[in-house]
């Protein structure tokens, strides 16, 4: 059962990684990257690495997403590719 959970999360991670790199709007790209970080946090909780999981939830998903959104706010929102 837990192996199926693992595979579902990994496939969703690959999908969100590709979407966040392909979308033209940089704010959407930052938010989808936040979703990617929370998915990998779920994966680590499932793999038994709880300390890595809550560090990722606080630092990876929270602070990285805030940094990216602040940069997009100070610069342009559209991307050419």
């Amino acid at each position: 059962m837990i192996e199926h959970f693992n595979i579902i999360i990994l496939v969703l991670m690959i999908i969100t990684a590709i979407i966040s790199l392909q979308v033209k709007d940089l704010l959407s790209a930052s938010m989808i990257f936040g979703i990617y970080s929370f998915l990998i946090c779920l994966l680590w909780a499932e793999m038994g690495a709880v300390d890595v999981a809550f560090t990722e939830a606080a630092v990876g998903a929270g602070v990285s997403a805030v940094f990216l959104i602040a940069t997009v706010y100070n610069t342009k929102r559209r991307s050419s590719d």
Binding site: F33, T55, L68, V72
Partner: protein, 154 residues
């Protein structure tokens, strides 16, 4: 083909996904022109490497690496005079076996890697904001064009 998937892909799916995600990040670093997209690709690359290391510590049927409250040895010293009772304690709470817990060493190493990754992302975003102030754009090809034409000293 079906045998290949059942024997080779499904039991090691973490490693296959690690390779795929790492190559997605490398492709973004090379092929994307926007600097923010490049930095998102760099973060994806870093998480792929962390995924590889955490996958090394996983064992079948293992739980999280936290010892239970009553481990053997806690009571053995306290009840040293009462040999019979301490023997019973050993039976009730057997010594923890390493195979029951996933390996915590890669977790601790990767905890550092996550924090370093966020620090590099923050510095890189600050540098790209400063580049935007100087050049008015975040596209790599436009910045290179302005540097080549030499009109960035205004």
């Amino acid at each position: 083909m079906r045998e290949f998937i059942e024997n080779f892909v499904q039991p090691h799916f973490n490693y296959w996904a690690y390779v795929i995600i790492m190559m997605i990040g490398l492709w973004a670093l090379i092929a994307k022109r926007n600097l923010i997209k490049k930095l998102i690709g760099m973060s994806i690359f870093q998480t792929a490497i962390i995924l590889f290391y955490v996958s090394l510590g996983v064992k079948d049927g293992a739980t999280i690496p936290i010892a239970p409250h009553h481990v053997a040895g806690d009571h053995a010293d306290a009840h040293d005079s009462e040999h019979a009772e301490s023997h019973d304690d050993h039976k009730a709470h057997p010594k923890p076996v390493a195979d029951d817990y996933s390996n915590p060493l890669p977790h601790v190493l990767m905890l550092t890697a996550i924090v370093v990754g966020v620090a590099t992302l923050g510095v890189a975003l600050a540098v790209s904001q400063s580049l935007f102030k100087d050049f008015g754009t975040l596209e790599e090809d436009e910045i290179l064009e302005q540097i080549k034409s030499g009109d960035y000293y205004d």
